[in-house]
Symmetry: C2
Subunit: 102 residues, 2 copies
């Protein structure tokens, strides 16, 4: 009777169910951003943000680029795989506007 749910779907939901991951990806939809920007706009601690960014990079959903300026600039951005989440995010925007109160 177990496991009727598609493993790929389960994995996808598992990714988004990690606390902060969804908001981090949503934030990156508006363009490449650096660590401290994500940290303050999303409201996630550096400790967890660091963990999430590594996971997302390992999943191929975001990429990390180093610009050796002064001080060093490191930008995180969505890969094609990450950008492909946009329609889903738009649906969540719609749902939240239609069904949630402020």
């Amino acid at each position: 009777m177990d496991k009727l749910i598609c493993p790929k779907f389960e994995k996808a939901m598992g990714l988004l169910s990690q606390r902060w991951t969804g908001l981090i990806l949503y934030q990156l939809l508006s363009g490449p951003q650096r660590f401290c920007t994500i940290e303050s706009s999303v409201g996630v601690s550096g400790r967890v943000l660091s963990e999430r960014l590594k996971d997302l990079e390992n999943e191929g959903i975001i990429k990390r680029e180093v610009f050796p300026e002064t001080p060093v600039r490191i930008e995180y951005s969505l890969t094609d795989k990450g950008l492909a989440l946009e329609p889903l995010m738009k649906e969540l925007e719609k749902w939240s506007q239609n069904w949630l109160e402020a």
Copy 2:
């Protein structure tokens, strides 16, 4: 510089970011179901399932109905608010099919 994200969107993402919540709702898209069915198909423990169902009921996303049969049957089903998540779930299905490996 903080908090550029819409509070409604944040709340919606907060709901789906609770572990198991997304899968529970996805499972209920296929129709009303009882506690033990959700428990085994989703793979969540009774302890957490109980907690999630209460939260979702409080949010008006699911409803709980008691049928005084023998033994008692209790069914959980989506409200209109819950059903409205279907397009989002379809997008996640698509994404997972297109971008994830088994």
